[in-house]
């Protein structure tokens, strides 16, 4: 059950994926999403750092390297607060499933490594809905680094934790930064009851595991009739030439 901070239960379900860069969490979330949609559920998706109202400021801060540990933390909290009120809570009130790629645990990990007080940042985010399930993709550091460095052109300043002055070498800085974040995640497994997924398992096995964890929570969740017009086409022997265009525009096909 997803729960408001005041303990009030919401009819929808909030599933969260967490883990360091290169843990494969986004891939698994994408597979989960497609499965849920295929099963006919109403699924909303919310991504870390995606609020249009806040993003311009975050982008400016990152590009011009203006962010300190505290402003980095606050601006990401503003992002989640905005998405919470406009996206996440309304969808959960309507009884839908919300999938979040990164959530408060990302902030707790990164910001504490940057030096903000653990209790301070936990209280800042106390507005956040308690997720139904939070999945943590555990991956050995070296494996995640190999995945990242082979798939991405160049690490960015804050992504690599260069603001922390851990090392002047960007790759070395990234490695130390990620290592420290892993330590924070590991502490949070017990603190918040994160469900650990072994991200070294083959993709399909991880996905099976994810589905097994999620499935018991799906009873009574809002379903949406998708492509209701298909029946009409069959019954009336129409081709649906124009309808398929609309479907494609809406991303239904």
């Amino acid at each position: 059950m997803a729960q408001l901070p005041n303990g009030k239960p919401l009819p929808g379900k909030l599933f969260v994926v967490e883990g360091i860069d290169g843990s494969g969490k986004s891939t698994q979330m994408d597979l989960l999403r497609k499965w849920l949609i295929g099963e006919g559920y109403c699924v909303a998706f919310s991504e870390w750092n995606s609020s249009p109202e806040v993003q311009a400021t975050t982008r400016r801060g990152k590009k011009k390297r203006l962010l300190s540990p505290t402003t980095f933390s606050l601006i990401h909290a503003a992002d989640l607060a905005d998405r919470m009120e406009r996206q996440i809570v309304p969808a959960l009130k309507a009884g839908a499933i919300v999938l979040a790629d990164r959530y408060i645990y990302t902030a707790f990990g990164r910001d504490v490594v940057r030096g903000v007080h653990p209790q301070w940042v936990r209280k800042v985010y106390s507005f956040a809905v308690q997720p139904t399930v939070a999945l943590y993709f555990r991956v050995p550091l070296q494996e995640s680094i190999t995945r990242i460095t082979s798939g991405r052109p160049q690490l960015k300043f804050y992504e690599a934790g260069l603001d922390l002055g851990l090392s002047s070498d960007i790759n070395e800085s990234f490695r130390i930064f990620q290592e420290r974040i892993v330590q924070e995640y590991e502490k949070m497994v017990d603190e918040f009851g994160l469900m650990v997924i072994d991200a070294m398992q083959p993709l399909t096995e991880q996905q099976e595991m994810v589905r097994r964890i999620v499935a018991p929570h799906l009873q009574g969740v809002l379903k949406a009739e998708r492509s209701a017009w298909r029946d009409v086409l069959v019954k009336e022997q129409l081709y649906g030439r124009y309808l398929t265009d609309i479907g494609a525009e809406r991303g239904q096909l």
Binding site: E53, A56, T70
Partner: protein, 238 residues
């Protein structure tokens, strides 16, 4: 000397115990004449030989533009704007105010956390949460609370720029009428500021008086705060 004290957990990485400048805050509701007084005080201080930096809400390099843009769309939720204002203030504290205080400037700020708190609390945000968020804030040397009342504020606002959407609380009071909304909102803000006075050690200034009278009182009080900070001039040989 300004003792480095914070309202809450403070700023990570701040090792200094003392700062040689002074942090002076002018607070009060909209239209009470804060920015006029800051401008007058700055001129007086500089012509007396003090180095001055002035600052105000929404003026940070990082978040100033972002807030202004978002407010044009009338689309910020209460918590988001509180966090946005907090980001703006932290950026100014870390990159403008504290460096200036370290260097020995007199820093005059037009509003500080108290406006952010009042704004958030009248909109119904949880006090503990708001105080925690703003716990990074340095405790100022002095907070002057410029207090006026609606009868004095309304004509000033009308003469200046008219009723503004946010200053009238149109975002949450849901009244159709700007004047009614303004009166209700500013009334609630005043009550909130009054309630915070003793907690945050406000120095009350009656801002219903003329600009000149208010200035003289502020100048008198600030003179005491900055004693000994003025550079001494050598005797110029005749």
């Amino acid at each position: 000397m300004t003792q480095v004290r914070f309202y809450g957990y403070g700023l990570p990485g701040m090792r200094q115990q003392e700062l040689s400048g002074r942090l002076i805050v002018l607070e009060g509701t909209d239209g009470v004449g804060r920015s006029t007084q800051v401008a007058l005080l700055r001129e007086w201080l500089e012509s007396s030989g003090y180095a001055v930096v002035s600052s105000g809400l929404k003026r940070s390099d990082l978040a100033g533009k972002g807030i202004a843009l978002a407010q044009q769309g009338h689309y910020l939720s209460d918590m988001t704007s509180c966090l946005f204002y907090a980001t703006d203030l932290t950026d100014r504290l870390e990159r403008e105010i504290i460096p200036a205080l370290r260097a020995g400037f007199v820093v005059l700020t037009d509003r500080y956390i108290y406006s952010i708190i009042a704004r958030a609390l009248v909109r119904g945000l949880d006090q503990d949460w708001v105080y925690n968020v703003l716990g990074f804030a340095l405790v100022p040397d002095k907070v002057f609370y410029l207090r006026s009342d609606l009868n004095h504020l309304v004509p000033r606002v009308l003469n200046a720029r008219g009723f503004n959407y946010w200053e009238s609380g149109m975002d949450f009071l849901r009244k159709r009428d700007y004047y009614e909304s303004y009166a209700e909102y500013q009334g609630r803000l005043l009550a909130q500021f009054d309630a915070m006075g003793s907690e945050f050690d406000f120095h009350l200034i009656d801002a219903r008086r003329s600009v000149h009278e208010v200035f003289v009182e502020l100048r008198h009080n600030i003179s005491k705060l900055i004693e000994g900070m003025r550079p001494r001039s050598p005797r110029i040989p005749q």
